[in-house]
Amino acid sequence: MSDIRWAFESFGVRVCIESNEAEPIERVKEVADYSLLSRLSEIDPQLAYHNFHITKVGDTYSSGLDGEDFGDNPDLGSLLKYIGSRIRILVAEHASNIVFVHAGVVSWKGKAIVIPGTSHSGKTTLVAELVKLGAVYFSDEYALFDADGTVHPFPRPLAIRERSDPSIRADVDVRELGGNAGTGSASVGLIYFGKYRKNSEWMPETVSPGVGIIELITHTIPMRVNSEFALVTLKNAVKGATMVKTDRGEAEATAEKILHFIDNTDN
Protein backbone atom coordinates (compact mmCIF):
# COMPACT_ATOMS: atom_id res chain seq x y z
CA MET A 1 0.00 0.00 0.00
CA SER A 2 1.49 3.35 -1.03
CA ASP A 3 1.26 5.77 1.81
CA ILE A 4 3.97 8.44 1.47
CA ARG A 5 3.09 11.25 -0.90
CA TRP A 6 4.92 14.31 -2.13
CA ALA A 7 3.57 16.76 -4.68
CA PHE A 8 4.78 19.79 -6.57
CA GLU A 9 3.61 22.33 -9.09
CA SER A 10 5.76 23.41 -12.01
CA PHE A 11 4.63 25.67 -14.89
CA GLY A 12 1.07 25.17 -13.68
CA VAL A 13 1.32 21.36 -13.76
CA ARG A 14 0.52 19.61 -10.49
CA VAL A 15 2.21 16.30 -9.96
CA CYS A 16 2.14 13.84 -7.06
CA ILE A 17 4.58 11.01 -6.40
CA GLU A 18 3.65 8.31 -3.98
CA SER A 19 5.55 5.38 -2.60
CA ASN A 20 5.34 2.78 0.12
CA GLU A 21 8.91 3.67 1.15
CA ALA A 22 10.57 6.93 2.16
CA GLU A 23 13.75 6.54 0.08
CA PRO A 24 12.16 6.85 -3.40
CA ILE A 25 10.29 9.95 -2.28
CA GLU A 26 13.41 11.62 -0.88
CA ARG A 27 15.38 10.81 -4.01
CA VAL A 28 12.62 11.79 -6.44
CA LYS A 29 12.55 15.24 -4.85
CA GLU A 30 16.15 15.73 -5.99
CA VAL A 31 15.41 14.23 -9.40
CA ALA A 32 12.39 16.50 -9.99
CA ASP A 33 14.33 19.54 -8.82
CA TYR A 34 17.17 18.70 -11.22
CA SER A 35 14.86 17.89 -14.14
CA LEU A 36 12.91 21.12 -13.81
CA LEU A 37 15.86 23.33 -12.87
CA SER A 38 14.33 24.06 -9.46
CA ARG A 39 11.27 25.66 -11.06
CA LEU A 40 8.84 23.89 -8.81
CA SER A 41 7.08 24.44 -5.54
CA GLU A 42 5.68 21.94 -3.11
CA ILE A 43 1.90 21.66 -2.96
CA ASP A 44 -0.73 19.69 -1.12
CA PRO A 45 -0.84 16.23 -2.79
CA GLN A 46 -4.62 16.46 -2.96
CA LEU A 47 -4.28 19.24 -5.53
CA ALA A 48 -2.27 17.12 -7.99
CA TYR A 49 -3.71 16.06 -11.37
CA HIS A 50 -0.99 13.58 -12.30
CA ASN A 51 0.25 10.74 -10.15
CA PHE A 52 3.44 8.74 -10.31
CA HIS A 53 3.78 5.71 -8.11
CA ILE A 54 6.92 3.87 -7.07
CA THR A 55 6.12 0.74 -5.08
CA LYS A 56 8.74 -1.52 -3.59
CA VAL A 57 7.74 -5.17 -3.85
CA GLY A 58 10.43 -7.53 -2.56
CA ASP A 59 13.70 -6.55 -4.24
CA THR A 60 12.19 -4.62 -7.09
CA TYR A 61 10.25 -1.44 -7.77
CA SER A 62 7.07 -1.28 -9.79
CA SER A 63 6.18 2.13 -11.09
CA GLY A 64 3.84 4.05 -13.33
CA LEU A 65 2.19 7.33 -14.21
CA ASP A 66 -1.57 7.73 -14.04
CA GLY A 67 -2.82 4.63 -15.92
CA GLU A 68 0.51 3.76 -17.53
CA ASP A 69 2.64 0.93 -16.12
CA PHE A 70 6.42 1.38 -16.34
CA GLY A 71 7.10 -2.23 -15.39
CA ASP A 72 9.40 -3.55 -12.66
CA ASN A 73 12.96 -2.45 -12.04
CA PRO A 74 15.38 -3.64 -9.37
CA ASP A 75 17.62 -0.57 -9.76
CA LEU A 76 16.12 2.51 -8.12
CA GLY A 77 18.82 4.78 -9.55
CA SER A 78 18.07 4.02 -13.19
CA LEU A 79 14.34 4.05 -12.52
CA LEU A 80 14.59 7.54 -11.02
CA LYS A 81 16.59 8.71 -14.02
CA TYR A 82 13.74 7.54 -16.22
CA ILE A 83 11.12 9.10 -13.97
CA GLY A 84 13.06 12.37 -14.07
CA SER A 85 12.76 12.48 -17.85
CA ARG A 86 9.07 11.59 -17.63
CA ILE A 87 8.47 14.38 -15.12
CA ARG A 88 10.10 16.87 -17.48
CA ILE A 89 8.03 15.69 -20.45
CA LEU A 90 4.83 15.68 -18.41
CA VAL A 91 5.38 19.28 -17.37
CA ALA A 92 6.39 20.27 -20.91
CA GLU A 93 3.25 18.73 -22.36
CA HIS A 94 0.75 20.14 -19.88
CA ALA A 95 2.32 23.49 -18.95
CA SER A 96 -0.11 26.38 -18.90
CA ASN A 97 0.91 29.70 -20.47
CA ILE A 98 4.18 28.32 -21.83
CA VAL A 99 4.76 26.27 -24.99
CA PHE A 100 7.70 23.89 -24.84
CA VAL A 101 9.36 23.26 -28.20
CA HIS A 102 12.11 20.69 -28.53
CA ALA A 103 14.96 22.93 -29.63
CA GLY A 104 18.36 24.31 -28.80
CA VAL A 105 18.35 28.05 -28.09
CA VAL A 106 20.95 30.75 -27.68
CA SER A 107 20.66 34.50 -27.86
CA TRP A 108 22.87 36.66 -29.98
CA LYS A 109 22.86 40.43 -29.65
CA GLY A 110 19.57 40.24 -27.76
CA LYS A 111 17.71 38.03 -30.25
CA ALA A 112 17.09 34.33 -29.89
CA ILE A 113 18.39 31.76 -32.32
CA VAL A 114 16.14 28.69 -32.16
CA ILE A 115 17.32 25.34 -33.53
CA PRO A 116 14.44 22.84 -33.44
CA GLY A 117 15.40 19.19 -33.62
CA THR A 118 14.98 15.74 -32.23
CA SER A 119 17.46 14.01 -29.98
CA HIS A 120 20.61 13.01 -31.85
CA SER A 121 20.08 15.79 -34.39
CA GLY A 122 23.15 17.64 -33.16
CA LYS A 123 21.40 20.48 -31.32
CA THR A 124 23.63 20.37 -28.27
CA THR A 125 26.85 20.29 -30.28
CA LEU A 126 25.75 23.26 -32.33
CA VAL A 127 24.55 25.19 -29.29
CA ALA A 128 27.90 24.53 -27.59
CA GLU A 129 29.78 25.93 -30.59
CA LEU A 130 27.54 29.02 -30.67
CA VAL A 131 28.22 29.57 -26.97
CA LYS A 132 31.97 29.29 -27.58
CA LEU A 133 31.57 32.10 -30.13
CA GLY A 134 29.92 34.35 -27.56
CA ALA A 135 26.22 33.53 -27.78
CA VAL A 136 24.28 33.46 -24.51
CA TYR A 137 23.07 30.00 -23.56
CA PHE A 138 19.32 29.44 -23.19
CA SER A 139 18.90 25.68 -23.57
CA ASP A 140 20.05 22.61 -25.41
CA GLU A 141 16.66 20.96 -25.08
CA TYR A 142 13.68 23.29 -24.91
CA ALA A 143 12.62 26.63 -26.26
CA LEU A 144 10.05 27.99 -23.82
CA PHE A 145 7.69 30.38 -25.59
CA ASP A 146 5.27 32.54 -23.66
CA ALA A 147 1.94 33.61 -25.19
CA ASP A 148 3.60 36.60 -26.88
CA GLY A 149 6.08 34.30 -28.59
CA THR A 150 9.03 35.48 -26.50
CA VAL A 151 11.61 32.81 -25.60
CA HIS A 152 12.66 32.15 -22.01
CA PRO A 153 15.82 30.36 -20.90
CA PHE A 154 15.79 26.77 -19.69
CA PRO A 155 19.53 26.49 -19.11
CA ARG A 156 20.07 22.95 -17.94
CA PRO A 157 23.66 21.67 -18.13
CA LEU A 158 24.50 20.81 -21.73
CA ALA A 159 24.16 17.07 -22.33
CA ILE A 160 27.24 16.58 -24.47
CA ARG A 161 27.63 13.16 -26.04
CA GLU A 162 30.90 11.33 -26.30
CA ARG A 163 32.13 11.19 -29.88
CA SER A 164 33.13 7.55 -29.60
CA ASP A 165 29.84 6.47 -28.02
CA PRO A 166 26.92 8.87 -28.50
CA SER A 167 24.80 6.95 -26.00
CA ILE A 168 27.10 8.26 -23.24
CA ARG A 169 26.43 11.84 -22.24
CA ALA A 170 28.07 14.12 -19.74
CA ASP A 171 26.45 17.16 -18.18
CA VAL A 172 28.58 20.21 -18.90
CA ASP A 173 28.04 23.54 -17.20
CA VAL A 174 27.89 26.32 -19.79
CA ARG A 175 30.65 28.16 -17.87
CA GLU A 176 33.02 25.32 -18.69
CA LEU A 177 32.56 26.34 -22.33
CA GLY A 178 33.39 29.93 -21.47
CA GLY A 179 29.78 31.01 -21.80
CA ASN A 180 26.94 32.30 -19.69
CA ALA A 181 23.33 31.29 -19.23
CA GLY A 182 20.62 33.77 -20.15
CA THR A 183 18.54 35.24 -17.38
CA GLY A 184 16.02 37.30 -19.35
CA SER A 185 13.72 36.57 -22.27
CA ALA A 186 14.34 37.36 -25.94
CA SER A 187 12.26 37.71 -29.08
CA VAL A 188 13.12 35.33 -31.88
CA GLY A 189 15.60 36.50 -34.49
CA LEU A 190 16.31 33.29 -36.36
CA ILE A 191 14.82 29.83 -36.52
CA TYR A 192 17.09 27.35 -38.23
CA PHE A 193 15.85 24.00 -39.51
CA GLY A 194 18.41 21.51 -40.69
CA LYS A 195 20.22 18.29 -40.06
CA TYR A 196 23.84 17.37 -39.92
CA ARG A 197 24.98 15.80 -43.16
CA LYS A 198 28.63 15.13 -43.75
CA ASN A 199 30.28 17.63 -46.10
CA SER A 200 27.10 19.70 -46.43
CA GLU A 201 27.38 23.30 -47.48
CA TRP A 202 25.54 26.01 -45.57
CA MET A 203 23.04 27.14 -48.22
CA PRO A 204 20.10 28.68 -46.34
CA GLU A 205 16.74 28.89 -48.03
CA THR A 206 14.15 31.13 -46.43
CA VAL A 207 10.89 29.42 -45.54
CA SER A 208 7.58 31.23 -45.25
CA PRO A 209 6.11 31.81 -41.77
CA GLY A 210 3.36 29.26 -42.43
CA VAL A 211 5.71 26.54 -43.60
CA GLY A 212 8.08 27.36 -40.74
CA ILE A 213 5.29 26.92 -38.21
CA ILE A 214 4.38 23.58 -39.76
CA GLU A 215 8.00 22.51 -39.22
CA LEU A 216 7.93 23.82 -35.65
CA ILE A 217 4.75 21.90 -34.91
CA THR A 218 6.61 18.62 -35.31
CA HIS A 219 8.77 19.67 -32.35
CA THR A 220 6.03 21.28 -30.25
CA ILE A 221 5.34 19.18 -27.20
CA PRO A 222 1.83 20.35 -26.18
CA MET A 223 0.54 20.36 -29.78
CA ARG A 224 -1.94 17.57 -29.21
CA VAL A 225 -2.94 18.59 -25.70
CA ASN A 226 -3.32 22.34 -26.13
CA SER A 227 -3.50 22.86 -29.90
CA GLU A 228 -5.06 26.30 -30.06
CA PHE A 229 -2.76 27.96 -27.54
CA ALA A 230 0.27 26.29 -29.08
CA LEU A 231 -0.61 27.44 -32.60
CA VAL A 232 -1.29 31.05 -31.59
CA THR A 233 1.94 31.09 -29.58
CA LEU A 234 3.97 29.77 -32.51
CA LYS A 235 2.39 32.37 -34.77
CA ASN A 236 3.48 35.09 -32.36
CA ALA A 237 6.94 33.56 -32.03
CA VAL A 238 7.70 33.72 -35.75
CA LYS A 239 6.54 37.32 -36.19
CA GLY A 240 9.59 39.26 -37.24
CA ALA A 241 11.81 36.17 -37.24
CA THR A 242 13.79 34.89 -40.17
CA MET A 243 13.37 31.17 -40.79
CA VAL A 244 15.82 29.21 -42.86
CA LYS A 245 16.38 25.63 -43.83
CA THR A 246 19.59 23.97 -44.92
CA ASP A 247 21.60 20.90 -44.10
CA ARG A 248 24.74 21.58 -42.15
CA GLY A 249 28.25 20.26 -41.96
CA GLU A 250 30.45 20.32 -38.87
CA ALA A 251 29.06 22.28 -35.92
CA GLU A 252 32.06 24.59 -35.50
CA ALA A 253 31.84 25.92 -39.06
CA THR A 254 28.04 26.00 -38.99
CA ALA A 255 28.00 28.12 -35.84
CA GLU A 256 30.15 30.74 -37.55
CA LYS A 257 27.89 30.69 -40.61
CA ILE A 258 24.78 31.13 -38.49
CA LEU A 259 26.15 34.14 -36.66
CA HIS A 260 27.45 35.66 -39.88
CA PHE A 261 24.04 35.07 -41.47
CA ILE A 262 22.11 36.70 -38.63
CA ASP A 263 24.50 39.64 -38.50
CA ASN A 264 23.78 40.28 -42.16
CA THR A 265 20.02 39.83 -42.03
CA ASP A 266 17.61 42.60 -41.19
CA ASN A 267 14.80 41.55 -38.91
Binding site: G71, S78, T118, G210, I213, I214, M223, L231
Partner: protein, 161 residues
Protein backbone atom coordinates in the same frame (compact mmCIF):
# COMPACT_ATOMS: atom_id res chain seq x y z
CA UNK B 1 -18.44 15.31 -58.21
CA UNK B 2 -19.74 17.46 -61.02
CA UNK B 3 -19.71 21.21 -61.34
CA UNK B 4 -23.24 21.64 -60.05
CA UNK B 5 -22.24 20.33 -56.61
CA UNK B 6 -21.29 22.73 -53.91
CA UNK B 7 -18.24 21.88 -51.77
CA UNK B 8 -18.35 22.85 -48.10
CA UNK B 9 -15.27 23.82 -46.11
CA UNK B 10 -14.93 21.85 -42.90
CA UNK B 11 -14.83 23.92 -39.72
CA UNK B 12 -15.33 21.52 -36.85
CA UNK B 13 -12.28 20.14 -35.11
CA UNK B 14 -9.95 22.64 -36.76
CA UNK B 15 -7.80 25.42 -35.34
CA UNK B 16 -7.29 28.10 -37.98
CA UNK B 17 -4.77 30.92 -37.97
CA UNK B 18 -4.65 33.48 -40.75
CA UNK B 19 -1.25 34.79 -41.76
CA UNK B 20 -0.22 37.17 -44.52
CA UNK B 21 -0.58 35.15 -47.73
CA UNK B 22 -1.09 31.84 -45.90
CA UNK B 23 -3.58 30.06 -43.71
CA UNK B 24 -2.53 27.59 -41.04
CA UNK B 25 -4.93 24.83 -40.15
CA UNK B 26 -4.45 22.32 -37.35
CA UNK B 27 -6.75 19.31 -37.53
CA UNK B 28 -7.37 18.13 -33.97
CA UNK B 29 -8.91 14.87 -35.18
CA UNK B 30 -5.98 13.71 -37.30
CA UNK B 31 -3.33 15.86 -35.56
CA UNK B 32 -2.21 17.06 -38.94
CA UNK B 33 -1.05 20.61 -39.57
CA UNK B 34 -1.64 22.22 -42.95
CA UNK B 35 -0.32 25.39 -44.49
CA UNK B 36 -2.50 26.65 -47.35
CA UNK B 37 -0.97 29.11 -49.76
CA UNK B 38 -3.06 32.05 -50.91
CA UNK B 39 -4.62 30.22 -53.85
CA UNK B 40 -5.67 27.21 -51.79
CA UNK B 41 -6.89 29.48 -48.99
CA UNK B 42 -9.04 31.59 -51.33
CA UNK B 43 -10.71 28.49 -52.73
CA UNK B 44 -11.21 27.05 -49.23
CA UNK B 45 -12.90 30.25 -48.06
CA UNK B 46 -15.21 30.09 -51.07
CA UNK B 47 -16.39 26.56 -50.28
CA UNK B 48 -19.48 27.79 -48.46
CA UNK B 49 -21.93 25.11 -49.55
CA UNK B 50 -23.85 27.65 -51.63
CA UNK B 51 -21.31 28.08 -54.41
CA UNK B 52 -20.78 25.72 -57.32
CA UNK B 53 -17.32 25.30 -58.85
CA UNK B 54 -18.30 27.80 -61.51
CA UNK B 55 -19.29 30.26 -58.79
CA UNK B 56 -15.97 29.68 -57.05
CA UNK B 57 -14.10 30.39 -60.28
CA UNK B 58 -15.95 33.71 -60.65
CA UNK B 59 -15.39 34.59 -57.01
CA UNK B 60 -11.68 33.77 -57.31
CA UNK B 61 -11.37 35.94 -60.41
CA UNK B 62 -13.12 38.82 -58.68
CA UNK B 63 -10.86 38.60 -55.62
CA UNK B 64 -7.59 38.03 -57.45
CA UNK B 65 -8.29 40.22 -60.47
CA UNK B 66 -6.97 37.41 -62.66
CA UNK B 67 -8.57 34.93 -65.04
CA UNK B 68 -8.22 31.35 -63.82
CA UNK B 69 -9.15 28.02 -65.32
CA UNK B 70 -11.74 25.77 -63.77
CA UNK B 71 -9.06 23.08 -63.57
CA UNK B 72 -7.00 25.24 -61.21
CA UNK B 73 -9.96 25.55 -58.87
CA UNK B 74 -10.55 21.82 -59.14
CA UNK B 75 -6.93 21.16 -58.26
CA UNK B 76 -7.39 23.17 -55.06
CA UNK B 77 -10.66 21.40 -54.25
CA UNK B 78 -9.03 18.01 -54.82
CA UNK B 79 -6.25 18.87 -52.39
CA UNK B 80 -8.62 20.30 -49.81
CA UNK B 81 -10.70 17.14 -50.06
CA UNK B 82 -7.79 14.73 -49.80
CA UNK B 83 -6.47 16.61 -46.75
CA UNK B 84 -9.80 16.36 -44.96
CA UNK B 85 -10.50 20.08 -45.14
CA UNK B 86 -13.92 19.71 -46.77
CA UNK B 87 -16.95 18.61 -44.81
CA UNK B 88 -17.51 15.82 -47.34
CA UNK B 89 -14.98 14.26 -49.66
CA UNK B 90 -15.36 15.08 -53.33
CA UNK B 91 -14.57 12.77 -56.20
CA UNK B 92 -11.38 13.84 -57.91
CA UNK B 93 -11.91 15.41 -61.30
CA UNK B 94 -8.45 14.19 -62.23
CA UNK B 95 -8.91 10.54 -61.35
CA UNK B 96 -6.64 8.36 -63.47
CA UNK B 97 -4.21 11.17 -64.22
CA UNK B 98 -0.90 11.52 -62.49
CA UNK B 99 -0.36 14.57 -60.32
CA UNK B 100 2.56 15.53 -62.54
CA UNK B 101 0.34 15.50 -65.63
CA UNK B 102 -2.28 17.61 -63.94
CA UNK B 103 0.21 20.13 -62.61
CA UNK B 104 1.88 20.38 -66.00
CA UNK B 105 -1.40 20.98 -67.75
CA UNK B 106 -2.64 23.58 -65.29
CA UNK B 107 0.68 25.15 -64.44
CA UNK B 108 1.50 26.17 -68.00
CA UNK B 109 -1.87 27.82 -68.42
CA UNK B 110 -1.96 29.56 -65.06
CA UNK B 111 -0.75 33.02 -64.19
CA UNK B 112 -1.60 32.64 -60.51
CA UNK B 113 0.32 30.43 -58.12
CA UNK B 114 -0.85 26.84 -58.10
CA UNK B 115 -2.68 25.81 -54.95
CA UNK B 116 -0.31 24.25 -52.46
CA UNK B 117 -1.10 22.62 -49.15
CA UNK B 118 1.93 21.65 -47.09
CA UNK B 119 1.10 19.13 -44.39
CA UNK B 120 2.85 17.41 -41.50
CA UNK B 121 1.61 15.21 -38.71
CA UNK B 122 2.32 16.21 -35.12
CA UNK B 123 4.36 13.48 -33.39
CA UNK B 124 2.21 10.66 -32.15
CA UNK B 125 3.65 10.49 -28.69
CA UNK B 126 5.30 13.03 -26.47
CA UNK B 127 7.79 10.31 -25.73
CA UNK B 128 9.18 11.03 -29.15
CA UNK B 129 10.65 14.12 -27.52
CA UNK B 130 12.62 12.24 -24.95
CA UNK B 131 16.27 11.78 -25.18
CA UNK B 132 17.41 8.18 -25.22
CA UNK B 133 16.54 7.69 -21.58
CA UNK B 134 14.55 4.54 -20.89
CA UNK B 135 13.40 2.35 -18.06
CA UNK B 136 15.55 -0.74 -17.63
CA UNK B 137 12.49 -2.35 -16.10
CA UNK B 138 11.21 -2.65 -19.65
CA UNK B 139 14.28 -3.81 -21.54
CA UNK B 140 12.65 -3.66 -24.96
CA UNK B 141 10.59 -0.59 -24.17
CA UNK B 142 12.59 1.72 -26.38
CA UNK B 143 11.05 0.76 -29.69
CA UNK B 144 7.87 2.81 -29.60
CA UNK B 145 9.30 5.54 -27.46
CA UNK B 146 12.52 6.84 -28.77
CA UNK B 147 13.35 9.34 -31.51
CA UNK B 148 15.49 8.46 -34.49
CA UNK B 149 19.04 7.84 -33.48
CA UNK B 150 18.32 5.93 -30.31
CA UNK B 151 18.56 2.17 -30.27
CA UNK B 152 15.68 -0.14 -29.51
CA UNK B 153 17.00 -1.91 -26.42
CA UNK B 154 17.20 -0.41 -22.98
CA UNK B 155 20.58 -0.85 -21.34
CA UNK B 156 20.98 -1.48 -17.63
CA UNK B 157 22.06 2.12 -17.32
CA UNK B 158 18.74 3.38 -18.63
CA UNK B 159 19.83 4.39 -22.13
CA UNK B 160 18.35 3.12 -25.41
CA UNK B 161 21.19 1.46 -27.29
Amino acid sequence: MNNSQKPVARHSGLVVQEMPGEVLVYDMDSNKAHCLNETAAMVWRSCDGNSSVEDIVRSFERNSGTKVSEDLIWLAIDQLSSNGLLAEKVESKFAGQSRREVLKKIGFASVVALPVIASLVAPQSVLAFTSCTCNPGQPVGCTPQVPAGCGSNCSGGGVCV
